[in-house]
Amino acid sequence: MDSKLKPYMLLLPAIIVLLGIFMAGLLSALVQSLGYFPVVGLKKITFEYYLEVFKNQDFLKSLFFSLYISLTSSVAAVIIGVLLAYLIVKSQYKEGIETVLYKLPIIVPHMVAALLIFNILSQSGILPRIFFNLGIIRDQSQFCNLVFDKNGIGIVTTYIWKEIPFVTMVVYTILNNLNKELLEVALNLGAKKWQGFIYVALPLLMPTIGSAFIIIFAFSFGAFEVPYLLGPTYPKALPVLAYTAYTNPDLTNRPYAMVISMILTIVSVILILLYTKFFRLLNDYNR
């Protein structure tokens, strides 16, 4: 085999699948969002649907709701996850049961995670029952509903619960293999422990933390199950809104669904680009 072609040949099967399904799906969504859907006789390419969607109050509310959910849950999960990883590395038992147990939520699907949080936070859940038995509330109705609520507490909690172990696992692996001498040098030179963490360990961990943040942010921004199961009827999260438009029996509504899912895609990509840009600046500055 021609050695120049070999790397491409090895990549080919995977790339064909990605082109044939992923790229084709994305392009098809783009074309349909521009109003081309010949099955129901829509053949004119137009930006009309985009303009209409952007004028729609429901859409704008959903967009902010989705951004708020993903940002809040990802930031919280990253902070708690990193701290937990740091604490586990500092505690001496490295092969203990806790290093296995905390990983459990990783194999729990999001749908089940939603059920777990429902069992805890709903008005008949465990948390209000505990409050009642402690005498903090006297009646079920005194516990403000934390699922199906407009603040998305149930959704955010579910994502935090699910993503903490992921962040912890990724950061733990890197932290454990980190060059310990660097930290010791800092401590020898008179840095306090927290300073060692903030100024030595954290910068070295930043790339890992950053990519973990991107993955969980993008996932929660585009995921359907959790807001579908625990979200309020209004505002709906963006993926739920897209799906509602998609299942509209009037097929001439299809382009609206595609516009919403294209905006989901575009926002994710823009945020990732902004993030990498910011990150590069930060790196240059540190150097």
Binding site: G25, L26, I107, L115, T173, L229
Partner: protein, 271 residues
């Protein structure tokens, strides 16, 4: 010395409280699956029963059959993903070529682009090709969230091993498939197994892609489970969720045991 011990105690208290917070909801769910009656405001079920579990194991409910079908589907997705990922990962790990950076980003793109956009877009084409509402169609669409993980992690595995051992086999006269089967494959096997279990879980947990492309004709386990969660039937949802988590856990344990029996030395573990 005493200060140090006190610190360790605080440290452990924090670690264990976080871990308990993470585990506690799972315990509550498991308890619900055995609850015959658990009214407000009791902290424990007032009466226990096996109605949900009996329903699950009853052949007429088809729950066990669906579970079996789901496991089969996810196994197929896992194998196809690995077969596609091994050459791709090798290419990215060992070769420098034009457009490499582009391919690396392109392969990770499905992690960033919401699957809902891809699935809704491809649905029309799948209907035209007869792939919608079919097992094959669902397998194909499950490849999209799986491939980025498969290729990315296997690239790291290949980089960790290096190319030299395989090249040595080639120099000593092995042809490419002998070198692959007898040298490379045993070397990457532990990595392959851990990526495999990750992909299995990804595919096993899919709801939206299966639901949209399968069109209700391909019924997987998450599709049986969702209506129970949605209707707030905590006992039945508890049973089905417990089965879900236990199946995934069992899969992990079996996989872990298999690697350990083959590779007693820990240096083979990359993750």
């Amino acid at each position: 010395m005493k200060v140090l011990q006190k610190n360790t105690i605080y440290l452990n208290i924090i670690i264990y409280s976080v871990i308990i917070l993470l585990i506690f909801p799972l315990a509550v769910m498991f308890m619900w699956s055995f609850a015959r009656s658990w009214p407000w405001p009791y902290l424990l079920p007032q009466d226990f029963g096996l109605r949900g579990w009996k329903y699950f194991f009853n052949p007429t409910s088809k729950a066990l059959f669906t579970l079996f079908l789901s496991v089969l589907l996810s196994l197929i997705v896992t194998i196809v993903t690995l077969v596609l990922s091994i050459p791709a990962a090798k290419s990215l790990a060992f070769y420098n070529f034009r457009g490499k950076a582009f391919f690396e980003i392109f392969i990770l793109a499905p992690l960033i682009v919401p699957p809902i956009a891809v699935a809704m877009g491809i649905h029309v084409q799948f209907i035209k090709l007869g792939l919608a509402d079919s097992f094959l169609g669902v397998v194909l669409v499950h490849l999209i969230p799986s491939l980025p993980y498969g290729i990315r992690i296997l690239t790291n595995v290949f980089q960790a091993i290096g190319e030299k051992i395989e090249l040595q086999a080639r120099v000593l006269g092995a042809n490419w498939w002998q070198a692959f089967i007898f040298v490379t494959l045993p070397l990457i096997a532990p990595g392959l197994v851990s990526v495999g279990s990750l992909i299995f879980i990804i595919s096993f947990s899919q709801y939206f892609l299966t639901f949209l492309i399968g069109g209700g004709q391909v019924v997987t386990f998450p599709m049986l489970l969702l209506p129970y969660i949605q209707s707030g039937d905590r006992m039945m949802a508890g049973v089905f969720s417990s089965v879900f988590v236990l199946t995934a856990l069992l899969f992990f344990i079996i996989v872990e045991k298999t690697i350990k029996s083959h590779y007693s030395s820990r240096e083979y573990f990359y993750f």
